[in-house]
Amino acid sequence: MKLLEIKNLYVTIDTLDGPLQIIKGVDFSIEKGERLGIVGESGCGKSITSLAIMALLPDKSKVKGQILLNGEEINLFNKEQMCRIRGDKIGMIFQEPMTALNPVKTIGDQIAESLILHRNMKKRQIIHEVEQLLESVDLPVERFGLNLYPHQLSGGQRQRVMIAMAIACKPDILIADEPTTALDVTVQQQILELIKELAIKFGMSLIMISHDLGVIAQTTQKVMIMYAGQVMEQGETSQVFKHMSHPYTQGLFAAIPKPGSSRLEGKKRLSTIPGSVPDPKSTVQGCIFAPRCSFSDDICRKSPPEQSDIAPGHNVRCFHPVMED
């Protein structure tokens, strides 16, 4: 049995201009201890997918499909049942450490909260556990007491506190939603390494959400490329990075500046994907990427492609996957 399985997930959000379909049929699964990356441009639905798993979407949204945790359909759980899952079975790290911590509560209180909610521990045990957690995210207790407030910490330190909070109950799954986007470049690496190490150390599965392919390459075993609410390409990270087959994936890679091809010496301009992400209000008949795809033809514009395997464990949603070699 898979640890987490998402089947045919659809998410619709009601807006003033009518319902918007943000997620259009997403399937994926994750095994115990496995690390999965979800990549895509902003607005592709990667964060919405994670919030759907946590059942933390805004009230105006509707979820269809199945979300199975250890075989249980948690999308049918009521609020109370879901509270017992969140923080205990699934932990989450958010993007903005500056705003994601409560400014009027000490970091000790905020880390302890998951333990108070999910573990039947005595106060002294909890304090001891929180100190251990701070140590494990490299915030030594001697310097970073439990009574500090978030505003007394730097961005990177706050993100470490966020991590300590998310892993407090050693959840089965840790979701990290763009955990380093808001941080200084120098700090980003340390935080990524820390998340990966902790996931391995405690045997947690990791879902790393990022728009940055480098981050995914560094931290994950499997990857899923999303575009406009659909999965475009999915497979082993090394396999997908070596043999990217969807034109969109190729576009994403081409848009990364490579070392040694800086503006001074290289004559090639950094390539971009022409056009822009489709308006979620519009309905596309064929392939959702077709309007921006240089390989598209009449078939692409007539009917939408299904996900199909091109190698064991590597599938692509495209009529004309690019085959190199």
């Binding site: 609020k79 509270c83 899952i85 932990g91 409560n102 400014p103 909260e113 007394q152 966020m162 998310a166």
Partner: protein
């Protein structure tokens, strides 16, 4: 704080100086002889230059000597003390009552946002803001005094008459004063809570498995209190204005009624000191509000960065 008080005191003094109305003339009546008038003016020190009188007054003020009322012919400090023991409890009671009404209502409205309960609370709030407090006071008198006959329609027996009769004559005024305050505070509590509930850290708390009730109480409420405390501080000066009217409705011998009468009788020395007293209390309230901020929000407790 002291500078603000000094500025306020000088403004009040000079504004009252340039206004028409000779206190000596008021005291002696319109038929007074010119030389008796002059003698009284000299006795009161009204013939001295304005700057000398200001400094003299300020010196006395610091020593707690507020002068003698022209019309009541008793020391102003005594006069004010007599009234404060009524007005101060009245103000405290109504602030307490309005807070006790407003914060729960605001919480109920915000946690039932867009549901009928929210709508009901907002109707209460709109009505409370629209209903003039003196009319509400009259309605209370009609209901509780005229029809039910359970509470006095006005007057104050004094604290010597026993705590229960005294409180019962303060009950209706307290309610009348608290209503508009509660209405505004409810609105502020609700909108502030709704604003805070959209913050990222609320989602973080939920991601830890905190229920929506727990999140509201443990995470949202304290953050939402910052604007509420601000408004409570601002409301204090409206409360002072409210006491003037409400004390008149209920014939309560308090500060509000005293200032009203003193102004009407041109008892400038009483007016002067009362206005200073009110300004000082507004300043003190602001100081308390600032301290409350620091209690609520650790970011305002002074930097102690690691």
């Amino acid at each position: 704080m002291i500078i603000t008080l000094l500025v306020a005191s000088s403004v009040v003094f000079f504004v009252l100086e340039i206004l028409p109305g000779d206190p000596a003339a008021v005291m002696l009546g319109i038929n007074a002889e010119a030389d008796t008038l002059a003698a009284l003016r000299a006795e009161l020190g009204l013939d001295k230059p304005i700057a000398v009188r200001y400094l003299g007054w300020l010196g006395d003020l610091v020593q707690g000597d507020l002068g003698i009322s022209y019309t009541y012919d008793v020391p102003v400090s005594e006069l004010i003390m007599e009234r404060v023991i009524l007005s101060f409890p009245l103000a405290i009671l109504s602030i307490t009552l309005s807070t006790l009404i407003a914060i729960p209502l605001g919480i109920i409205a915000a946690s039932n946002h867009t549901k009928p309960m929210d709508f009901l609370v907002m109707i209460f709030s709109q009505l409370g803001i629209a209903i003039p407090n003196f009319w509400f006071a009259l309605l209370l008198i009609i209901f509780f005094s005229v029809f039910m006959g359970v509470l006095p329609a006005g007057g104050f027996a004094g604290w010597d008459a026993g705590i229960f009769p005294a409180l019962s004559s303060l009950l209706l005024p307290t309610i009348a004063l608290a209503l508009p305050q509660a209405a505004i505070l409810t609105r502020v509590t609700r909108s502030s809570l709704l604003e805070v509930l959209k913050e990222d850290y609320i989602r973080t708390a939920q991601a830890k498995g905190s229920s929506s009730r727990r999140t509201l109480w443990r995470h949202a409420l304290r953050n939402a209190m910052i604007p509420v405390v601000t408004i409570m501080g601002l409301q204090f000066s409206f409360l002072l204005a409210g006491t003037i009217i409400i004390e008149n409705v209920f014939y309560l011998p308090g500060i509000g009624r005293l200032i009203f009468q003193a102004i009407a009788q041109r008892d400038l020395i009483v007016v002067k000191n009362l206005v200073i007293l009110l300004a000082a209390s507004v300043i003190v309230i602001n100081f308390i509000v600032d301290m409350l901020y620091a209690v609520i929000d650790p970011r305002l407790r002074g930097a102690q960065n690691v």
